[in-house]
């Protein structure tokens, strides 16, 4: 056939182009690695697709700032490790101390530190940064007030009330900047800061919209194990999971994050590839639970929430939605791997793994629903219909909802799955115009359970339906819990006995009320190719959260890894 001839021509053209380009790219790739000889480098893929826009503004928290800005180019005073329970790691601060009533925080600033341009970093820079943050409403994402005083090599913050809870946010999430540069900029948010001067282990070398390179900061304060050893770090864009997978296997990418369905096979076939699975946050069904704040729908009824809780076959979720990479969660909403010691009642340590259909049906029947053997439950002639919002494209969540629909049908609940874009999903939850929403319970500023309970259960973090609730989107509100949360905020963090009993009283309510119906602990998979560098975080040594998109933790990982000899 004549088509065959044309096909052959096309194919040979394709082959020719492919061969030439392969040769070309092969050449260029080998020259960079071999010609540089002693230059060691790692390449990092943090999930960015499309073009990078050059932006190294350390004041931003909108995600527009490129990721190494915080933690790698600029540093905070301390590092708070979310991957395990541990004391804050000193960075630009060497120690800190609260006064007895928790209203005054004294920070000792590290001496002998230089900015990447060679000028000295002093306590004055730290005081300037903290003061500018506090006094500029657009920067002050904490909404807290304090006065900043410089006292020798110390910086002293004085708060109007007991403020233990602000500690990690101030010490761990504010990038310290040079006063000499930033005091000349009237509106710090309006700059893209394309030649950043920071104190972190790496500094910017070259930038293009699809990849940029950082190089070791020669003035970095750390020595020995605390000094960066890899010469260059490249951040790349332009890849989807498929491309990233093949890049990881070939060693083009050393460090990436994300769920790869075929990960176990990849590791089997490539001895250089390893992965670490870190407990991240509890995945749960957020319910608009509080009719008093305007929620409507069957889920405002605690019996319905209990029925959903009982109907879940969590083992199936874990196998089919997470390919077995999930971990058993706790009904207290805490992540057992990190906060096991804060779960006061051992009965609440883990979630049931299989469905209890009869318990679910009983819960509904006790509440006045008629549950037929097949079909959907009814009450007063109305069918038990619920709608769950889920972000379309979040594979594991989408799969989970498909499974949940089937599981709930077995107990007489008719679940409709609404796959929506991320913005629509988050705005529905924020405004309260939803029934159920699949989300995760994110830890706050540190691994302490306080932030989870304060953000997800306190009345101060919620709002009536129709208004924006910041974090407590289930609209849960209970005066007893509010009081307990306030007490915890004023409790000295070292008083563990008092804290444990306070947490226990919150947990007793949460597991009964179920404003958020927990499913499993979502795991964050991080993959490494060990041919260029070693010393990555591992299951046995989680010195930082390993995901490459975790801004502050990145700096720690990058200065800890060592080149392969």
């Amino acid at each position: 056939m004549s088509l065959g001839h044309k096909g052959k021509v096309l194919l040979s053209v394709v082959a020719l182009v492919a061969a030439t380009t392969l040769a070309l790219t092969g050449c260029s790739a080998s020259t960079t690695t071999k010609a540089s000889g002693k230059t060691t480098s790692v390449t990092l893929f943090n999930g960015s697709v499309g073009n990078f826009t050059e932006n190294f503004n350390p004041w931003l928290t909108t995600g527009a700032e490129l990721q190494p800005t915080q933690g790698t180019i600029y540093e905070a005073l301390f590092f708070y490790n979310m991957a395990r329970s541990q004391a804050p790691v000193p960075l630009l601060g060497t120690s800190y101390k609260w006064n007895s009533d928790g209203t005054q925080l004294t920070i000792a600033v590290r001496q002998g530190v230089k900015w990447s341009d060679g000028t000295a970093l002093t306590a004055d820079d730290v005081a300037y940064t903290l003061n500018r943050y506090e006094s500029t409403p657009a920067l002050n994402t904490l909404g807290a007030t304090w006065t900043t005083k410089l006292s020798g090599n110390n910086v002293v913050l004085t708060f109007p009330t007991t403020s233990y809870a602000l500690e990690p946010q101030i010490l761990g999430y504010i990038a310290i900047v040079p006063k000499a540069i930033w005091s000349k900029i009237p509106n710090v948010l309006n700059t893209t800061n394309t030649s950043p001067v920071g104190s972190g282990p790496y500094m910017l070398k070259t930038f293009t919209p699809q990849s940029y390179t950082l190089t070791k900061n020669p003035n970095y304060w750390g020595t020995g194990a605390e000094a960066p050893a890899i010469d260059q770090v490249r951040f790349i864009s332009l890849a989807n999971a498929d491309a990233a997978t093949s890049a990881l296997e070939s060693g083009n990418v050393d460090w990436m994050g994300g769920y790869l369905p075929t990960l176990r096979d990849i590791v089997k076939q490539n001895p250089k590839v390893s992965y670490v699975n870190t407990a991240d946050s509890t995945t749960g069904v957020v319910t608009c639970s509080n009719a008093a704040l305007g929620c409507t729908g069957p889920q405002t009824d605690v019996a319905v929430r209990q029925a959903i809780y009982d109907a879940m076959d969590r083992a199936q979720f874990s196998t089919q939605a997470l390919n077995g990479f999930g971990e058993v969660g706790s009904p207290t909403l805490l992540v057992p791997a990190v906060n096991k010691k804060w779960i006061s009642d051992s009965a609440n340590a883990t979630l049931p793994q299989s469905a209890n259909v009869s318990a679910a049906k009983q819960a509904l029947e006790a509440d006045g629903w008629t549950v037929p053997a097949t079909g959907f439950a009814t009450k007063g002639g109305k069918e038990l219909d619920l709608t769950i919002n889920v972000v379309s494209g979040w594979t594991d969540y989408d799969t989970l909802c498909t499974l949940l629909k089937g599981q709930l049908a077995a107990v007489g609940i008719n679940l409709t799955v609404n796959q929506v874009a991320q913005n629509a999903w988050s705005s529905a939850e924020t405004s309260g115009k939803f029934e159920l929403s699949l989300n995760s319970v994110n830890p706050g500023a540190s691994a302490s359970p306080f932030y989870i309970y304060n953000n997800y259960l306190a009345t101060s973090a919620t709002a009536a339906v129709g208004q924006s609730a910041s974090t407590n989107t289930s609209r849960f509100s209970d005066p007893a819990i509010d009081a307990t949360v306030k007490t915890i905020a004023k409790t000295d963090p070292s008083n563990t006995a008092a804290l444990l009993s306070a947490y226990g009283s919150i947990q007793a309510t949460v597991v009964k009320q179920l404003p958020i119906i927990p499913i499993y602990v979502n795991q964050a998979l991080t993959e490494f190719n060990n041919s260029n560098a070693t010393g990555w975080p591992s299951a046995s040594n989680l010195y930082a959260f390993p995901e490459p998109w975790k801004a502050w933790d990145n700096g720690i990982v990058l200065k800890t890894i060592r080149p392969v000899k």
Binding site: D242, L260, Q316, Q320, T387, G393, T402, V420, A424
Partner: protein, 326 residues
Amino acid sequence: MTSAISLDEQAVMPTAPRPARRSIAQLLPSRSPKLVVGLSIAGVIILWAIIGPLIVGNPNAISTSMFQTPGTAGHLLGTTQTGQDVWSQIAYGTRGSLIIGFSVGIISTVLSAIFGILGAYIGGALDETFALFTNIVLVIPGLPLVIVIGNYIPVNQRGLFLIAIVLALTGWAGSARVLRAVTLSVRNRDYVAASRVSGEKTWRILVVEILPNLIPVMASQFVFAMIFAILGEAGLSFLGLGASNSFTLGTILFQAYNDLALTQGAWWWFVPPGLVIALFGCALSLINFSIDEIINPKLRNSTRAVRKKWGLSPAQIRQLDEEQIK
């Protein structure tokens, strides 16, 4: 995806049916092999969309048998990540896609008839306004608009019909422009003028004298609108903006892509839905070929070479050409 529609007035002018009235029988496509093949494929798919969902199982039923290959017990086309039966999903998906296709076809044909035929027939300022409006809608990029709108329709309202309306609203202008050009040329024919002079009512002239001449063009535009809609819906769904809670071939493809069917080699999940779209689109194209040959008899397969073989003089060929147009 709409590049096949010749959007230009000049393109339509010479191909417009020029001469006298035709009987309805003459308007029916002659039985060419293209038409037979096209109609049969389309017929089978339409039939499948009607009957399929009645005979297959519940497409939502989950099971623990994930990623079964085709042919495994009870799963003709294998299963998905959540153990759902691909075969059942395709039955429902075909139905969903066809509902969208037909709805968009009907709505956009009505819209294009209003803006194209009515305007051109009444003429004057109305025609100018309609034509201007049509042209503006035509040059404003449709798909980005659909994406922006689609993103904001509350999900629980984003059913099949709403998606169909959005697609129709952004897709009618091309047809309207073609219909206007054809109407203009029909309107100026002697017999229409004669009816007008003899005092026929406007609507009667429109319905009896003009519309029959437009039927083939409208049919062809209807078919194009269907292809456009099915492809457009698939594209929207692929971006996650498709109809929620209903199966279409697009939503199946979206699910498959999202659940990394490609990475995991589950070809049975994403190849069949695309094939159904391709086959149906192909069938519609074949039907359109036949309609085109009615609209423009020159396209029929009596080539110049064939006529030359008859030993005719150029003048005779010309005469034949003209007769055939009549």
